[in-house]
Amino acid sequence: MADYPVHEYDVLVIGAGGAGLRAAIESSAAGAKTGVVTKSLLGKAHTVMAEGGMAAAMGNVDERDNWRVHFADTMRGGQYLNNCRMAELHAQEAPARVKELEAWGAIFDRTKDGRILQRNFGGHRYPRLAHVGDRTGLEMIRTLQDHGIHQGIEVHAEHTILTLLKDGGRCVGAFGYDREKGRFHLFHAKAVVLATGGIGRAFQVTSNSWEYTADGQALAYQAGAALLDMEFVQFHPTGMVWPPSVKGILVTEGVRGEGGVLRNKEGKRFMFDDIPENYRSQTADTPEEGWRYTQGDKSARRPPELLTRDHVARCINREVRAGRGSPHGGVFLDIAWIKEKLPNAAEHIKKKLPSMYHQFKQLADLDITQEPMEIGPTTHYMMGGVQVDGDTQMSAVPGLFAAGECAAGLHGANRLGGNSLSDLLVFGKRAGEYAAKFAKENSAGKINSAEVEAAAKRAVEPFERGAAGENPFAVQHELQEMMQKLVGIVRVENEMQDALSEIPKLQARAARAGIGGNREYNTGWHTALDLDNLLAISEIVAIAGIERKESRGAHFRDDYPDKSAEWGKYNLKITKGPDGKPSVERMPVCPLTDEMKKCIEEQK
């Protein structure tokens, strides 16, 4: 084997967003030598974009809230396909994880009596989201980053992992390159935690940055782990639609939490037209009641704008398709209207939603305190991912753990806003804890040099083909366009089949991708190398989408528009078959305990 720099760790964490950093902190605190690999600089991961807050039933604003309600809300939001054990742990442990952040230097917005303030969000019965204006993700990542660097975590910034390494059945490390110089690095670790985030770059309109190329899902799949719930891709209802260059950038649900309403071009609040049966008893009857809810009136029920994301996204889609959309193909999100209700509305909006004010002012020349925004659905979050044990976060591959967005289970068919940041903390901690434990109980595995050499050889092939090869950016763009069109927010069998026949063609082109220049910070090369993961996972999303013949949560099929009780019994599990192709299996959903059933009954 060539002489690559070797980094020895007890625990290697891949990804430095909320889940990765929280895992690294926990593992390092447990005495394990911990390294973190991140594709970007430290503190730039997608967590930084999270706006609204982290859900935790602390009951600071409404004392009726507790973990049982949070559990029931999460299960209802996920249409009962969630891993119920994860939903239970999440609801129980989130408050402690939030308070811990404060003890590490986070400064949350406060209640009048000086505690952590909580806000309303879609699908959450009570005000539950601990937040800092609309930049909660930044607060969280900076707090974890600053706490982590003082704890002796070693960070390998701007490094990308190409493959996981195995010794027999067990994961024993990873192999990758640094982006700056383009040199290969070998990471030898007793346990590996995947915390790589989502797959947003498979779609054209997305709130995700360049990093989200399905790395964790693909690395785990290739290493023999199972993927779960891959048909469930969340389209956030409110992304910017204009100007074209910012299409897809997120507009926080917090706008609706603060009283923002959705209107079509006729000025009608269309969300009142379609309220799902299972949410009717929790939803306001009149705009007046909805407004009172957003202002903290405990006797009022939530406005329909705060129904779950899958539903709101579909209603917006319906308005646009029916020709009732806004000029640039979205609908209107109006927070400016609250000046009818509040004397100092403009100042109030700027205080509550500062980065939204800033974003629209700078990018769209629009003052959200005076005019409505134009918004439409954007690819936002992957509910599916690596199948893990609910308690330990270990995958089917011993020594390989996954946490955060790249893991599956907590969110089922649809994630509630605010449950992602708390997911990162709760399961990041658990993954770090159990990875450190695994590292203590197991000795270092053996590196298979043939595996390493094969990955290295393959990685430099784009240079052999040179600039005359396929343009990697063009292949990525075409994949995004195709997935958006054929496996997007509304799906049908024949379109998804078309996607499946397109993917091998794109794979053939990706195999011919070429790049000029040298290996130093060559973004074209990086893009070429990211294509494999993106294509493999896009194919799996389409396969799972075809398989699930019903509409549930984020998965909506025009040819099967109804929810089916039969399909409600299964999750779809995908593994790499003996023929190297994805193999799908129906897996019965995790059975509810009597206690869990009681929690759900109480909230009906």
């Binding site: 308070k99 230097g105 700056e180 360049w210 500062p354 974003q359 990697p472 950016f473 910070y521």
Partner: protein, 245 residues
């Protein structure tokens, strides 16, 4: 659709030159869009950092027509497109390639600053009681996205190269948010004077001008910190008072 010319700095580790690229543009585009368009069609191997494309991560810092800015938040209609627009890397940090610089010094500086050190909790459940009015100021500083444009423009670093002595505006506001956090019990005043050398700042406010988060770095963080250092170490009356306290 119209066309514009962008001169982008190409080269590695200090050597390089502006290369002209002509490209089409549409209404509403920002400089980062143009750079991406050029990268995808004309210069696949061009190095540029970016992530969120919404002014929240602070990755795409560069100097546009000589001014330190985020590429993702600089709209083309703010620029004179009848002339070529220059885009070059930040000058205060070692050059890596094209628009990318080595900003690792910043991460090393942060490690040296005394970490957040909480006082005893106020409530039995381990939490604190803090009023919003008391955290408004540190929250302003915590809006920082670590784009390092303030470091780039600070003449102590840019012109005098005192990276080994002075922590720069980014880390003065980091220190300020720790010092002004009502839960923190640490004391960084001596370090501010002796190790972080706050005295090097002569409040020209260049950092405040370039901050994309509009943090009032000089007025709200650096000046109050300077005052506290003066009170602590240079005030003869105050010193006397401390002796008899």
């Amino acid at each position: 659709m119209s066309t514009a010319t962008f001169q982008i700095w190409r080269g590695e580790r200090g050597s390089g030159k502006f290369v002209d690229y002509t490209t089409e543009y549409e209404a509403g585009m920002v400089v980062l869009d143009v750079v991406h368009r050029i990268q995808a069609a004309q210069a696949n191997d061009m190095a540029v950092r970016w992530n969120c494309k919404a002014g929240k991560c602070g990755s795409c810092s560069a100097e546009i027509n000589g001014k330190p800015r985020l590429m993702c938040m600089t709209r083309l209609n703010q620029l004179d497109l009848t002339q070529a627009v220059t885009v070059e890397p930040m000058k205060t940090f070692p050059h890596v390639k094209d628009l990318v610089t080595d900003v690792s010094w910043n991460y090393e500086v942060k490690k040296k600053i005394q970490k957040f050190t909480p006082r005893k909790p106020d409530a039995p459940d381990g939490t604190w009681r803090v009023q919003q009015a008391d955290v408004d100021r540190p929250q302003e500083f915590r809006k920082c996205i670590e784009c390092f444009l303030c470091q780039d423009v600070c003449h102590v670093l840019r012109d005098h190269n005192l990276h080994d002595k002075f922590i720069g505006p980014r880390f003065l506001i980091h220190t300020a948010q720790l010092e002004m956090n009502p839960i923190d019990a640490g004391d960084r005043l001596k370090a501010l004077k002796d190790d972080y050398n706050i005295g090097y700042c002569n409040i020209t406010k260049c950092c405040t001008k370039v901050c994309p988060e509009e943090i009032k770095i000089t007025d709200n963080a650096i000046i109050p910190l300077k005052e506290r250092v003066v009170d602590e170490f240079y005030d003869p009356l105050g010193g006397l008072f401390k002796v008899f306290r």
